[in-house]
């Protein structure tokens, strides 16, 4: 090794004072922070902390107001059943939101897939596993359309999925002929389609296979997001697409595949939907598009991309479920449930903005 110092350029006039000053550059200054700043930093480093705290507070508050009717094992497990569909669809929505996109068509894909599964199995008489498979393939196909429009035509995801929402819903009405397949018929001909509605009783709590299916899906996607290169690339693409591209990530391929994966998850959501309501109706799940976005946003994800977690979304869905269930048990009119959920969204986004302003 040669002496690096000897190769150092002669200091220029404006640099002469440097030797007297601090020589540390890449070091952390520990500045005094106010308690509020400390909180802001904590929340910035732990994005799921906010929804987790809100969920605990909400459960405690309704426990105090409503009492044992709310806090019973049966009711708490009922809330989990009630959020199963939004939980599953929310997983799909989270993936899209992390890439700085949004998918308004998730609910429509789910209903379309449920109708396809039901029609094929019950009306046409295809074996139930085959009908299930075709339904999932149809979900993937919907994702291919969304992904192609976003990556090839470079259209904004909001516009693309606003369009495909209508398209998928129209296809759903056409294919189902606006007719509902009754629960008894499904149970008789294709019980597999209702399998996720099978109840499981544990210590007075009543779960369904669907609840466990949702938790399994959350665990799987958590693994993908946090422990695989694909997951890391998803965040990178949502954060700064140019930086991701210069790092060698094929951003269009990532974006395309995320829409396809979302389509498949929506099709799996269709399976849980049939399990939950028993019948197969082209009018079911009308609110799930926006409910999934609510769960994602309340769960701490940022619509600007790069931030968000799957556990956060699950908690977000549970928060909405707790509010609806608790208010219903308090004999509050349904309209006030909507009122409360509306404020929840606004407060969640305002909090996200505040946390993002954290000074480095």
């Amino acid at each position: 090794m040669t002496d690096i110092g000897s190769n150092r350029p002669a200091a220029q006039a404006f640099e002469l004072v440097l030797d007297k000053g601090e020589s540390r550059v890449a070091e952390f200054e520990v500045r005094a922070r106010s308690p509020l700043q400390k909180l802001q930093h904590f929340l910035h480093a732990n994005p799921t902390a906010v929804p987790a705290i809100v969920l605990l507070l909400a459960v405690a508050a309704f426990g105090l107001i409503v009492g044992s009717r709310f806090l019973s094992m049966f009711n708490l497990s009922l809330i989990i059943q009630q959020v199963t569909i939004i939980g599953v669809i929310g997983v799909a929505q989270t993936l899209i939101v992390i890439t700085a996109g949004i998918d308004l068509s998730v609910g429509a894909i789910m209903v379309l897939c449920s109708v396809i599964m039901g029609k094929l199995a019950v009306t046409i008489g295809l074996p139930a596993p085959a009908a299930l498979f075709v339904g999932v393939a149809a979900g993937a196909g919907c994702g291919v359309l969304n992904g192609t429009l976003v990556t090839r035509l470079k259209l904004p995801p909001f516009i693309v999925t606003l369009g495909t929402w209508s398209i998928f819903f129209a296809l759903n009405l056409w294919y189902s002929a606006s007719e509902t397949i009754r629960s008894q018929e499904v149970a008789k001909i294709a019980p597999l389609l209702q399998a996720l509605g099978t109840p499981v009783n544990i210590l007075g709590a009543r779960f369904t296979y669907g609840s466990f299916f949702m938790l399994g899906l959350v665990a799987l996607i958590w693994f993908v997001l946090n422990r695989t290169a694909f997951g890391r690339h998803l965040y990178a693409v949502g954060d700064d697409p140019d930086a991701a591209r210069l790092s060698g990530i094929r951003t269009d391929r990532i974006l395309f595949s995320v829409y396809v994966i979302a389509g498949v998850i929506c099709a799996l959501g269709a399976w849980t939907l049939i399990g939950r309501i028993g019948s197969i109706s082209p009018q079911a799940g009308q609110t799930s598009n926006l409910d999934s976005i609510t769960a994602v946003v309340v769960g701490g994800a940022s619509l600007f991309g790069g931030r968000g977690s799957i556990v956060g979304t699950l908690i977000g869905a549970l928060i909405v479920g707790v509010f609806r269930n608790g208010l219903a048990l308090s004999d509050v009119d349904v309209l006030w449930q909507e009122f409360a959920v509306g404020w929840l969204i606004i407060i969640a986004v305002a909090l996200d903005q505040w946390i993002r302003k954290v000074s480095a």
Partner: protein, 238 residues
């Protein structure tokens, strides 16, 4: 280790001949020649719009020249993308740094070339080898004297401008086996941090990697060769 001016007669490590690039009626590169010798730190200086970035981007694969030839260690190469250049051992620190703010330092160092676990966990489950990546990232930052950041798992958005620059340089030094190119590494930094980056450049070179860096203002870098560029042509070279 040889430093500074090259030995006469040596083969240039990275060479460009008669590079041309036009954007419509604007000529960005006009028969630009370029020679970088092994173990050399070469500064490309020129005013805004002189063609520095175009030259730098052509060498790093981010720009495909209309005409001309680039040779690496004597053999012609045709980079179609930054990945091609990376595969050839040429790493670039872009002016924008190309870091992902919401990911950790370790994630950023390995972004786009992550290491997977050995065995079925890696091949079937595609599981990342986070421990090894964190260890290597820590080593690389320590080598460059930057490992005063609290944690390798800290998000890049919590770092200062100089620290981010350090992470980007460490990433380039970790993977660049032959050449590290830095596009205006001091443009966004203060005097103190600029000085530190220039020291970093020396550190990188001391590891046997040639360095090309660009700047707008001419700093007297006494023993460093300089190629000055003006209106798309290299007007002065070592």
């Amino acid at each position: 280790m040889s430093a500074g001016p090259h030995v006469p007669g040596a083969t240039p490590l990275l060479q460009a001949r008669s590079l041309n690039k036009r954007y419509g009626r604007v000529t960005a590169l006009d028969r630009a020649d370029f020679d970088l010798y092994p173990g050399e730190i070469l500064a490309v200086i020129g005013d805004n719009g002189a063609g520095k970035s175009s030259l730098i981007r052509a060498l790093s694969g981010a720009l495909i020249p209309d005409a001309g030839e680039i040779r690496l260690a004597g053999g012609p190469v045709a980079f179609r993308s930054p990945l091609d250049a990376q595969a050839a051992g040429i790493e670039t620190v872009y002016q924008t740094l190309a870091l992902s703010p919401s990911l950790s330092i370790a994630d950023n160092m390995f972004l786009g070339r992550e290491l997977r676990r050995a065995g079925p966990l890696g091949t079937i489950c595609r599981m990342l080898d986070r421990k090894t990546m964190q260890r290597i990232a820590r080593e690389k930052l320590t080598e460059l004297g930057l490992m005063t950041v609290q944690s390798i798992n800290q998000r890049v958005e919590t770092l200062s401008g100089g620290q981010r620059q350090g992470v980007a340089v460490a990433r380039a030094a970790a993977f660049g086996s032959r050449v590290v190119i830095m596009d205006e590494p001091t443009a966004a930094l203060g005097v103190k941090e600029s000085r530190r980056v220039l020291d970093l450049i020396l550190d990188v070179r001391s590891r046997g990697i040639s360095v090309v860096w660009s700047a707008t203002i001419c700093r007297t870098y006494s023993r460093s060769p300089t190629a000055s560029i003006s209106t798309g042509s290299v007007v002065g070279s070592p």
